[in-house]
């Protein structure tokens, strides 16, 4: 078994679901005890990928977006965001910072954010059949004893006797 836990979520390509998707992934990775910054990184990357699927994949039209997340040994989180939209003609060009096909209010930073906030990013796409964005991030396990405030066993015994 190469993973400890997994989940799959499918939802309509509506912009109100951007919040839902990042909240769900955030709740899913919570047992790994991520820091606020690690959680913010994951939420931001998921939000970017889902927004891309809505704006570029389905061009604001109807479609289904699927988000899969896996927790693997060693604190590795693997997140896939898939759409069956129009796909990307030139993935290399799409990955360049500030490149955007839609202009207007889009900063062209989506992939740059995913790349810098996650430990790895892979984009697989075929024009006409859709896009799969795979991102990985390691949640660094912090020493539990540092933050643990529970009393030691030998501290508890005298209290019980008292």
């Amino acid at each position: 078994m190469d993973f400890l836990n997994e989940m799959t979520l499918s939802f309509s390509s509506k912009s109100m679901n951007e919040n839902f998707a990042r909240a769900a992934v955030s709740a899913f990775v919570l047992p790994l005890d991520p820091t606020i910054n690690e959680l913010a990184d994951i939420k931001t990357a998921v939000s970017e990928a889902v927004t891309n699927a809505i704006i570029h994949g389905y061009e604001y039209g109807d479609g289904i977006i699927t988000v899969c997340a896996k927790i693997c040994p060693g604190g590795k989180v693997v997140i896939k965001v898939k759409d069956k939209g129009k796909g990307i003609e030139d993935v290399k060009q799409a990955l360049e910072p500030l490149f955007t096909t839609v202009g207007g209010e889009r900063a062209g930073l989506g992939f740059a954010v995913m790349q810098s906030f996650m430990d790895s990013l892979k984009v697989k796409s075929r024009p006409g059949s859709g896009t799969v964005v795979t991102m990985e991030k390691f949640i660094i396990r912090r020493s539990r004893t540092d933050s643990c405030t529970a009393p030691q066993k030998d501290e508890v015994i005298p209290n019980d006797k008292a």
Binding site: D41, E48, T51, G104, A107, L109
Partner: protein
């Protein structure tokens, strides 16, 4: 509402709150631009103190307002960026365009 605006002697301050993503940024943009049109401020202050989350749509929101304000010779200040949002702000390079 997730934007509260106050106008005072040439300065329009927009207090943003909640999450800024592609969904919410559209509504925020409409409110801020509507008020810019009415008040014609010399300076726009975007206050992020109550923003809990922001993706690159927030950068788009800032850049768009910067462009709009520049058109009429105005300026934009970004204030009170919470610590978790600092990374995306730095990554975007907007700090070279306006006061943050």
């Amino acid at each position: 509402m997730n934007v509260k605006t106050v106008y005072d002697s040439g300065t329009l301050t927009a207090l943003l709150s909640g999450d800024i993503d592609h969904h919410s940024a559209r509504k925020m943009r409409r409110i801020i631009d509507g008020d810019i049109e009415i008040c014609r401020p010399e300076k726009l202050i975007l206050d992020f103190r109550r923003v809990q989350f922001m993706d690159s749509s927030g950068i788009g929101l800032i850049m768009g307002r910067y462009r709009l304000m520049s058109l009429c010779g105005g300026s934009v200040d970004i204030v009170n960026i919470p610590q978790p949002l600092e990374r995306i702000v730095k990554l975007s390079g907007i700090t070279t365009l306006m006061k943050v």
